[in-house]
Symmetry: C2
Subunit: 227 residues, 2 copies
């Protein structure tokens, strides 16, 4: 499978890229608005995976950098690893490359900082996932996943995960595909959270985790496990 | 310390009552609008604690039933273990019994059921905690805690907890008091989540947990652990 990480030069993109390359045979396409930055990031991620394998002379792992549009065009699964305020633009730039064979995955959450810390601040559509749905042709499945992955831990291949990601969407086959893709990452468990309508509750976890890390000295780079 | 559980005949009240009585020396006052129901529940909870101790002839553990007003009047810490739509009435009925030496604790979350499962549906005040704050004299500290405790597990003294509760509020001393009280329950960890303004993100976890249990066959009576 080919996975595009649009905005993949950020920390969530980095973490997913190196984990999927280490733990699976999927090809990873790092996307950016600037293809040069995408190629540089892909190079760095490939170095990380080679170093982890203890073989710095190995042929390049299958991580390549492209402009977002090209990455989306070539991929089966497309992850919108961009900040929430770039989600709509990024989707608009790539939708004509997508069809019903693709899955568009949204991991972003809208937040704002206030006196009491970060709070959930969704776009006018009601959630980032709803915004993605509004900007995507109806035939293309949209799935929410990979919101609360403790990005630093995800990108550190020496770190154990042992955490959950919540997967939601209205297209059952697309949700199942992303659940399998998530669970191919060692130590990550994927739980189904429901249809796209549950997006606000899932996206709300992101500011909550930031606040918990801020308020509790012994907690950093937090993930969550349901049991 | 004396702890009142208003609406303590419900499942969260039951769980907190039997855990605090087993794990601490605090006196537990079960409150209800109907003092007869409160006394019957207190009797049942006392039996549970005695059975757990393996001594069914022991003198009554310190669990007693009262009308909500009387329970609030006698207690140091008052937990509003009522459904969200009874929170305002319950607070109004007891506020003249409270002062700055008390802490009023709110564990409730507003939800509604829709096509995609349960979603967060706060009262007009913005959160249940904000509603409690609006109905409570300014001198009385309000703290949010005990929202996501897997009520069935909490009430089953044979079940291990191993989960977190999130504690928030604007009065640091009151938050610390509730953090300590929470951690006196074996296996429960209390994390600070910030000021009262973080209530929506914490309360949103409750519908999320219900949806996760519904969507994933192997998960029931879910709690959450941050790490």
């Amino acid at each position: 499978m080919r996975i595009a990480l649009l905005g993949g030069t950020g920390d969530v993109g980095e973490g997913l890229a190196v984990r999927w390359r280490r733990d699976t045979d999927h090809e990873v396409l790092v996307g950016s608005r600037d293809p040069e930055r995408a190629r540089a990031a892909a190079e760095t991620y490939a170095d990380t995976v080679r170093a982890d394998a203890g073989d710095e002379t190995a042929v390049s792992p299958e991580i390549a950098g492209y402009a977002n549009e090209m990455a989306a065009d070539r991929a089966d699964v497309i992850v919108l690893a961009v900040p929430p305020y770039h989600v709509a633009d990024t989707v608009d730039a790539v939708t004509d490359r997508l069809d019903e064979e693709n899955v568009l995955v949204t991991p972003a959450a809208g937040m704002q900082r206030g006196e009491d810390g970060f709070s959930y601040h969704p776009p006018g559509a009601g959630s980032v996932a709803a915004l993605v749905r509004e900007h995507t042709p109806e035939s293309v499945p949209v799935v929410g996943a990979f919101h609360n992955l403790a990005a630093g831990r995800l990108a550190d291949l020496d770190a154990a995960m042992g955490i959950d990601t919540l997967v939601f969407g209205d297209d059952e086959a697309a949700v199942s595909r992303i659940v399998r893709l998530a669970e191919e990452i060692d130590g990550l468990r994927a739980l189904r959270a429901g249809g796209l309508g549950v997006a606000p509750e899932v996206e709300s976890l992101t500011p909550l985790l930031i606040n918990l890390a801020h308020e509790n000295d012994d907690l950093t780079d937090l993930g969550v496990r349901f049991h």
